[in-house]
């Protein structure tokens, strides 16, 4: 389990990074997924370009009406919540449940999103928070990508090989949104077998209910969410299961059961059953 020889470039400006990517380099963020894949020789890049030192990558800053989290911010930093800029409390909760501390010390929020393991936490969490993603293309130009639609399938996103995910933007109102997040997994810190996430902002009328770890992109349950918003009561297990099975026709009984549980528990945090 030793990687194929590769060269490593630490980019500290967009030009260097862009040039390397145009020449076929692969991005290295915290390395907590890519590292094992290199060691297993499943990933065999000739060049890795480290992007954690690009300007702004490790910043958490306040912009107008939104929080901007650098893609290179580690799970541990979000878990610790020691920055001056407050993040939505759900994020701190989610960060604490990712793997174990050694992984959280190195692993990054942007790396996790770009890797797009369907069972990872940030995709579901940030989908529920209706985050926006800041993506820099090879020319150094930024574009904004909504998180819904970012992930195409397991380990596939809208990012091109030359794109760098640089930041995650979250609307200020999410700081005081009501939220519930539940992850069903084999053991503490393990990748999820099922994720349920609910975010509700009563003042703005925002509600989003998300099922994660479905094998594909996080599933936004728009109608059930709207129903919950309208009634302000827990819809109950049967309604949740029905909403899921309508959308996940390939899922087996156990998967539907676990997703139902995760969703019900997430909803319960906001609306007691």
């Amino acid at each position: 389990m030793k990687p194929v020889a590769f060269s490593h470039l630490r980019a500290d400006n967009a030009d260097t990074a862009g040039k390397a990517l145009r020449q076929g380099a692969k991005i290295l963020a915290g390395g907590q997924s890519l590292g094992p894949m290199l060691n297993l020789r499943l990933a065999r890049p000739e060049t890795l370009v480290g992007v954690s030192f690009l300007p702004g990558m490790s910043e958490i800053r306040q912009a107008k009406g939104r929080i901007v989290i650098g893609a290179g911010v580690t799970h541990a930093r979000i878990e610790d919540g020691a920055d001056d800029i407050a993040l939505p409390p759900m994020m701190r909760h989610v960060a604490r449940g990712i793997a174990y501390r050694a992984v959280r010390n190195k692993g990054t929020i942007g790396g996790s999103l770009a890797h797009s393991d369907p069972a990872a936490d940030w995709l579901s969490c940030l989908t529920a928070l209706d985050a926006g993603l800041v993506v820099q293309d090879a020319a150094g130009k930024d574009r904004r990508v909504p998180i819904a639609g970012f992930m195409l399938g397991a380990y596939r996103t809208v990012l091109t090989p030359e794109d760098i995910l640089t930041g995650i933007e979250i609307r200020d109102e999410m700081r005081d949104a009501l939220w519930g997040y539940d992850k069903v997994c084999r053991k503490v810190g393990e990748f999820a077998d099922a994720i349920g996430a609910l975010v509700v902002h009563p003042d703005s009328g925002f509600i989003r209910l998300v099922a994660g770890a479905t094998g594909g992109p996080p599933l936004i349950l728009t109608e059930l969410g709207a129903d919950i918003a309208a009634r302000a009561t827990h819809p109950g297990r049967d309604a949740v299961r029905a909403a899921l099975s309508a959308r996940l026709t390939d899922a087996d009984d156990v998967k539907l059961h676990l997703l139902t549980t995760a969703l019900c528990r997430a909803i319960e945090k906001v609306l007691p059953a």
Binding site: M1, K2, P3, V4, A5, P36, L40, R41, Y100, V184, R186, K187, V188, G189, E190, F191, D193, D253, V254, H257, L258, T261, C264, R265
Partner: protein, 781 residues
């Protein structure tokens, strides 16, 4: 007590471990050292054709064709009907499991060696794989070893008359059980570093092993060397569990290449190699019929046991030790009047089965304990009472059971009742009712077992082994500074033997443990030993050290008597000083006189000096039996299928406890592994025989958060047959968790009508069982 037997002494070896100064195979530095990587089979079953070495790799890639002078691992057995399977260090003609070694590649670094391994082209023609015992035994099944005519290493049979049991039985239970294949996962995987030492004219092999002297024999025999030309050193070893008590094909290839190239060569197993090529243990299946009466008394047991032993027979324990142990131990600690059992050691396209901590007993304990609870449910009695009714009673000791096991001492029902008291079983039903009222499912489960330890030559001989353990040697000496050196060929690899055998020496010599230095596991420097496995280390090495230390104490008193001008009998050893009444002489003075000023001693002094080597085996060859009952309270969450262990107690009697602190650690570690067996660990294969749990993301092991706070209780029934009454304890705690936990799960889910009979009890299995029970209920309505 000081630091002798019974003291809670912190481990001597922890200083270097905690400072990162220990020396494992991977830490050793030798000039010119190269690393090895193996080309391993990507297919489960295939004909091996041409192997093409990459251009320019002369002298860096070796295959079986190069190793014409290397004999395969051949494990003979005296059991009638046993079939031989030559296990080559590198595959010849055929590959029989994914991960089997095909070629060895060497380079200055491991990464370069892996580059080389990737560049080797191997022609493989796929053959249909045999991935489970059912397929293996079907007519016309593909054959692992064509000349056998079938896929059976061996069948064995116990057959006592069941007719009376059948006639009297009012309860007849038929059940099937399964335990998963596992990988043992020591923290340090295998590792071996070999080089030819020209000064000593020896092949020197540093290897991560439990049994250095045995490995010396194995390497010498396969390489065709005289044993005098092979030295095996086990440096610091990071866990063994049985994984490291057999001769490994990689040890042979690395030794051969080191000799051939006259270069130090090291191979370090990585976790992926371990989880695939090392997925070699625990996989059993059972069909059992139990006969009982209305009181819950077990009258007879009729069992078929299949062990999926993989492709080859390991040396020296054979492919059949597991099934022999399973058949012999299924009756467990119970007084079973009638027993019929057939065992099948079945060859499949999986790695060669290797005995793991507990050897077969985690499987058979799981089965007999689930049977006990099934009987209790059938006769509507408390499972604890049914256990106590069936356990061998204290008054019956010593007791020979139906398979000929000689239970030397103890009170098994007392241990079960103590475990029940510790977990407050009397109050549990009330607690369970209260939880049920809240919609929660909690359950209590027990499992009792015996742990045969330090069994000797006759027992291993009866399992057909051609290489069997016997006497154990140890040297204890007073060095010139008056400190004590203990030399043992046994080994310490996490179980604390380095400390506990020092304590045994302290017991006789009455010195502080800081004055005792222990050297272990080096065939060049330590006396002969069969190594540490089968819970024999403490009994055997401890016994040998005890005998040697006792004799050294006698000699120290003799020398002291010369210096103190008194009779040896009146000399008392205390804190490193020999006393005669008020007069005293220190060990340092005694040693200095013997080594450097012998002129001060009388002419008739014993010339045997202050170095003693003694041999030891217990008074009986049948082993001394530790016993215990585990009790678990679990909560099963029907929404997630997850099982949480709310409370876990172990009440154990292992005779004299040499170091209670280390014993506690043994219990925690063993029980943690048992919980892995019960709830998490499973090496899975697809239909093509491909391992699908090849990383720790797929092969799930319990972590700290999944383990309960274990509560331990002890009694000390000394064995009459071993030095100090010590019984072995290394394996025990790994045996019972599957039984206790699944009994607790079944107890919790009884209202739903669930009875699990397979481990690990994963959330998926628990949920599937709940769904099936609900479907049955709906169909019945």
């Amino acid at each position: 007590m000081g630091t002798g037997i019974g003291a809670r002494v912190a481990r001597k070896e922890d200083r270097r471990h905690l400072k990162g100064k220990a020396e494992f195979v991977g830490d050793i530095k030798l000039p010119g050292l190269w690393e090895a990587a193996f080309v391993r089979s990507p297919l489960a079953h295939a004909t091996l054709g041409r192997i093409t070495k990459p251009a320019g790799a002369e002298g860096r890639v070796f295959t079986a064709e190069d190793m014409t002078d290397l004999a395969p691992i051949r494990t003979v057995s005296t059991l009638p009907g046993y079939k031989l399977s030559d296990y080559p260090a590198l595959a010849r003609g055929k590959v029989r499991y994914v991960g089997e070694c095909i070629a060895i590649c060497i380079a200055p670094t491991r990464a370069e060696a892996e580059d080389l391994a990737e560049a080797v082209e191997v022609d493989l023609t796929p053959l249909p794989p045999v991935t489970d015992v059912v397929t293996a035994l079907k007519d016309g099944a593909p054959l692992l070893h064509e000349d056998w005519g079938d896929n059976l290493f061996l069948t064995t049979e116990y057959d006592s008359d069941l007719s009376e049991a059948k006639a009297k039985a009012t309860v007849v239970l038929e059940r099937e059980f399964k335990t998963a294949r596992q990988a043992m996962n020591p923290m340090e995987g295998k590792g071996v570093l070999a080089h030819w030492d020209h000064k000593a004219d020896q092949l020197q092999v540093h290897t991560s092993t439990q049994v250095p002297h045995v490995i010396r024999t194995g390497i010498a025999e396969c390489l065709g060397l005289d044993q005098t030309n092979v030295r095996v050193i086990a440096p610091d070893v990071g866990g063994g569990f049985g994984y490291k008590c057999v001769l490994q094909p990689e040890e042979l290839s690395v030794s051969w290449v080191a000799r051939k190239t006259d270069r130090p060569i090291r191979w370090t197993e990585d976790r992926r190699e371990h989880l695939t090529a090392g997925a070699n243990t625990r996989e059993h299946s059972y069909k059992v019929t139990a006969y009982a009466d209305d009181s819950g008394r077990l009258l007879g047991l009729d069992a078929d046991i299949w062990v999926d032993v993989g492709a080859y027979s390991v040396w020296p324990f054979t492919a059949c030790l597991e099934a022999a142990q399973a058949g012999g131990n299924l009756p467990g600690p119970y007084d079973l009047p009638a027993y019929a059992c057939r065992t099948y050691s079945v060859a499949t396209n999986k790695p060669a089965f290797t005995p793991y901590r507990g050897v077969a007993r985690p499987g058979v304990c799981f089965v007999i304990e689930l049977i006990m609870d099934a009987i209790a449910r059938a006769v509507d009695r408390d499972p604890l009472e049914v256990r106590c009714l069936n356990l061998v009673q204290g008054s019956a000791m010593p007791y020979t059971n139906i398979t000929g096991k000689f239970y030397d001492s103890g009170d098994y029902p007392a241990a079960a009742r103590e475990a029940a008291r510790m977990i407050d079983a009397a109050q549990f039903r009330e607690r369970q009712r209260a939880a049920a009222a809240e919609g929660r499912f909690i359950g209590l489960g027990f499992a009792s077992f015996t742990e045969q330890s330090a069994h000797g030559a006759k027992v291993f001989g009866s399992w057909g082994l051609s290489v069997v353990p016997g006497y154990e040697q140890a040297t204890v000496k007073l060095n010139p500074s008056g400190a004590v050196d203990v030399l043992s060929g046994n080994h310490s690899f996490g179980q604390g033997l380095e400390t506990t055998i020092a304590q045994v020496a302290c017991e006789w010599l009455n010195v502080d443990i800081s004055r005792v230095r222990v050297l272990m596991g080096d065939t060049g420097r330590t006396p002969n030993s069969f190594g540490a496995f089968a819970s024999r280390g403490m009994v055997m090495a401890g016994g040998a050290v005890s005998k040697a230390a006792e004799e050294l104490a006698r000699r120290i008193r003799l020398h002291a008597a010369h210096l103190l001008q008194c009779e040896p009998d009146t000399v008392v050893l205390r804190d490193g000083v020999a006393w005669n009444d008020q007069a005293s002489v220190s060990f340092a003075e005694i040693a200095r006189t013997w080594y450097l000023r012998p002129d001060l001693l009388p002419d008739n002094v014993e010339t045997t000096g202050l170095e003693v080597t003694e041999g030891y085996k217990p008074d009986i060859d049948t082993g001394v039996f530790t016993y215990a009952t585990h009790a678990a309270i679990v909560e099963v969450d029907p929404d997630t299928g997850r099982t949480e262990i709310l409370d876990y107690v172990i009440f154990e009697d292992c005779g004299r406890r040499v170091n209670p602190l280390i014993l506690d650690g043994q219990s925690y570690g063993g029980a943690a592994q048992g919980i892995g067996t019960a709830l998490f660990e499973e090496s899975l294969y697809d239909g093509a025989g491909q391992p699908v749990t090849s990383t720790l993301a797929d092969y799930i092991m319990p972590g700290p958060a999944e383990l309960p706070h274990f509560r331990l209780g002890h009694s000390e029934t000394l064995s009459p047959y071993s030095r100090h009454g010590i019984k072995g304890v290394g394996e025990g705690a790994a045996i019972a968790p599957a039984g206790a936990i699944v009994n607790a799960i079944n107890n919790a889910l009884a209202p739903i009508g669930v009875e699990l009979s397979q481990v690990p009890a994963t959330p998926h299995r628990v949920l599937s069982a709940i769904f099936a029970a609900q479907a049955r209920k709906e169909a019945a309505q």
